[in-house]
């Protein structure tokens, strides 16, 4: 792959970066990354991966932009309200870096389409806001042996782990989705907008590290932070031999759509 003058300029801060260089930038340009959810986490992930020149970015999201999203979902602007999130995101990515091929899926990730969609990508980013899809992404990626980054945020806190084939998976840590009547996001909802950026940029950095082969990925370690104290912690987690999807005797061999808990949000209108 020969870089044009413009590409050398655009990616110069990567190219002059020891450990990345021309070769690393080429790997980034050839990379194919799927972002599940174009929301709080997906927005910074998509913007930084687009800026970095990731060759193909797939985005799946079945939602439209809501005014209440704009507090943290920085890829969507006021004029995008009611527009499909995948379209809004694609437009921004194209403006930021026209070289990036964006593939949009205006859909939900489900047990029936997950494996077919992720098969075309090198890496999957979980930017979803709900547990059924987080477990679905985990199970699909473990079964398809796709590397992925899990991310979660709540109030002032965030957590993320990178999962490669054979390393501790999300289900090793959190065995099953919480029951629909006990979802912490409902009882103690809300999130400081910038937390989404903090966590999403960590996920984006993990993607770029994976594509370039630089550094140590956040595998077998769950990173958590609390923005109230600005304390970061990485907790060592081990591959769980009793894990239902990647353990010694897996009981989950097919993907399932878990029931989605819903929260009653009283309308103020």
């Amino acid at each position: 792959m020969d870089f044009t003058e413009d590409q050398i300029q655009r990616y110069s801060r990567h190219i002059i970066l020891q450990d990345v260089g021309v070769e690393g930038q080429e790997r980034i340009n050839k990379g194919k990354v799927l972002i599940v959810g174009a929301g709080g986490l997906g927005a910074p992930v998509a913007l930084y991966l687009a800026a970095a020149g990731v060759g193909t970015i797939g985005i799946i999201d079945g939602d439209v932009v809501d005014l209440s999203n704009l507090q943290r979902q920085v890829i969507h602007f006021t004029a995008d309200v009611n527009k499909a999130k995948v379209l809004s995101a694609k437009e921004k990515i194209n403006q930021l870096n026209p070289e990036v091929e964006v593939i949009t899926y205006y859909d939900l990730l489900t047990a029936s389409n997950a494996l077919d969609i992720i098969k075309d990508y090198d890496f999957v980013v979980d930017g979803t806001d709900n547990f059924p899809v987080k477990f679905l992404i985990n199970d699909a990626c473990v079964q398809a042996r796709k590397p992925f980054s899990h991310g979660g945020i709540l109030r002032f806190e965030g957590q993320t782990i990178t999962v490669l084939p054979g390393t501790a998976c999300y289900r090793c840590v959190f065995h099953a989705p919480p029951p629909p009547n006990a979802v912490p996001t409902c009882s103690q909802a809300g999130v400081l907008g910038a937390i989404a950026g903090m966590l999403g940029t960590i996920q984006a950095a993990e993607v770029l590290k994976y594509l370039t082969g630089v550094g140590d990925l956040l595998t077998n370690r769950l990173l958590t932070f609390n923005a109230k104290t600005m304390e970061f912690r990485t907790i060592k987690v081990k591959h769980n031999h009793r894990c239902a999807v990647c353990g010694d005797h897996p009981t989950i061999t097919e993907l399932v759509d878990y029931e989605q808990a819903t929260c009653e949000i009283k309308s103020k209108h």
């Binding site: 939602d63 979803t128 806190e157 959190f174 006990a182 103690q188 999130v191 907790i235 009793r242 989605q260």
Partner: protein, 79 residues
Amino acid sequence: MSKILVNGKEQEVEVPISLIDLIKRNDVAQPDMVSVQLNGEFVDRGDFNSTLVNDKDEVDFLYFMGGGSPINQQNLQIK
């Protein structure tokens, strides 16, 4: 009193203390939803009562984190 590490921070407790008592002592909001590691090994939820924490043990409480955006969840299909 003995010293144990809970989520990386020192706590002084009378040992042995059961995991379930330690969970109560730490005001874990939803004990039925926390994942617990004792000295780096996951403890099955059914064993919280019988598992004892001793001097210098390291306990990690790990919590579910979604996206903090419950409004969006209403748009998702329920199967």
